[in-house]
């Protein structure tokens, strides 16, 4: 297991090292100025020196992203349950949920500031808006994918609507729900960073989005790189945790038994 993991992560690690080495060499060889493209060594040095600042910023962003993601998970699943409760309702409302997916979040973010004021609430709202649609869409398709024979079985035994939902439809939709949550986890971090660009100014520690902006104004490209790396690291961690939770939960029955 551990050996397998090492073997599998070996090729990408080698590729990464090669890429970083090439980058370092090229930047030095052509004398590229650091504010345009800092060498990896400078980014690393900044990362170590400003580790405290980066960590606290990452935490601020993580908090907002987690709130947005949590809201997406709850509202997305509940929304899908409501939509799935009647064909009419789904036909009437589903087209508008697609609006959530296509809304240009950068353009809407100022509105969020007006509604929620600058700070965490607006940032979390931005993370929510960007990440809720995949949860709705995937949960809905999961609820719809229940085998007709199982529906018949529940009908035969006189199961009530709520029992069918809780004992058949939702558990049956779990693999789909987790697909939606995995997608949402990455998007929530992106949504939080974008939200911070517009709405992140407030008292207290600045999030990663603000840090990127501040570094940009000071032409501290090395810090920008470090902050961006932290942001994607955050997305990867959240994605990993959600994937792991899903795998643990579905482990016993995923070898699709019908």
């Amino acid at each position: 297991m551990v050996r397998g993991l090492l073997l599998r992560s070996f090729p990408p690690l080698v590729a990464l090292c090669a890429l970083l080495a090439l980058w370092e060499v090229l930047v030095r060889a052509f004398g590229v100025r650091a504010f345009l493209l800092p060498p990896p060594s400078a980014v690393f040095a900044t990362g170590v020196r400003d580790a405290g600042q980066l960590a606290s910023s990452a935490w601020v962003t993580a908090e907002a992203a987690l709130i947005g993601f949590g809201l997406s998970a709850v509202a997305g699943v509940l929304g899908a349950v409501v939509l799935a409760s009647s064909r009419l309702l789904e036909r009437a409302l589903y087209p508008y949920t697609i609006f959530l997916q296509t809304v240009p979040i950068v353009a809407v973010a100022p509105l969020l500031v007006l509604w929620f004021g600058p700070g965490q609430r607006a940032v979390a709202a931005s993370a929510f808006i960007v990440s809720v649609f995949p949860v709705i869409a995937n949960t809905l398709s999961g609820l719809r994918s229940v085998e007709p024979a199982l529906r018949d079985l529940f009908r035969l035994y006189g199961a009530r609507r709520l029992a069918t939902l809780l004992k058949l439809e939702l558990p049956g939709a779990l693999p789909h729900i987790f697909t939606g949550l995995r997608i949402a986890s990455g998007l929530a971090v992106i949504g939080a960073i974008v939200g911070e660009f517009v709405a992140g100014f407030s008292e207290g520690t600045a999030g990663l989005g603000i840090l990127v902006l501040a570094a940009y104004r000071q032409l501290r490209t090395d810090l920008m790189f470090a902050a961006v790396l932290c942001a994607s690291g955050l997305g990867i961690v959240l994605f990993g945790v959600v994937s792991l939770a899903g795998a643990r939960l579905l482990r016993r029955w995923h070898p699709s038994a019908s």
Binding site: A149, L150, G158, A159, L174, W253, H254
Partner: protein
Amino acid sequence: MTPLASVPAPPATPAPSLGSGIRVRVARVHRTFPGGVEALDGVELDITPGSFVALVGPSGCGKSTLLRIIAGLDEATSGGVELVPAVGQAEAWRAPIAYVFQDAHLLPWRSVLDNAALPLELSGVSRSEREAAARQVLAQVGLGDFTARYPAELSGGMRMRVSLARALVTRPRLLLMDEPFAAVDELTRGRLDDQLRALWHELGMTVLFVTHSLSEAAWLAERVVVFSRRPARVVRDRALELPRERTAALRLEPAFAREVQVLSEVLERGGG
């Protein structure tokens, strides 16, 4: 085969006397689906309480449709189905019907025990009672040692037995089976047939068993109904002249071969 457990103590829920299957009367049932497909064309059947009847017919003729109508999962376009409880058992049973599909259709997130207990759970039986009933019926199908497993950890034949246990857990008075063992291998199917016959003897419910295998039909049933091609009509409905005790050796006897031969001729002609 897995030995059948001896009959354990009766469950806490009141059990009806054994041998009290319900009578099924199918009167001139027609079924035309929206879109115009005519599946049943005046099907007429009277099933004796507690009998084991096999239904055979060409693929797509309407056998599943008939079972679904009998189960109340679909409605006849005209004609009707009447389920007549045996004298004295009447209202006591809320779920006298059980249905077994071609595939096991278990809930993969539930243990074997919880799968078998599902019908009782849905009708509000308390946990201790339904688990006791599920354990008992799982022991009856030879899965007493597998109650904590999950469906993904079982073989196809074992899953089918869980499905059978789930159907039997309510002590149904009518068991509808739609090509239940079609998806398992020949050897497993023979064992399942064996076990089903034994359970039927023990429990005495009425069984309607759809199958494509004429020899399975002849070996299992007391009576075989043959349907025409779609839309289904009954082309032959007769009791088999075979001993009540069905053994593996019976499959090799000339009388058995003759019954299967007759059935296959009727099936060929009946469709045309």
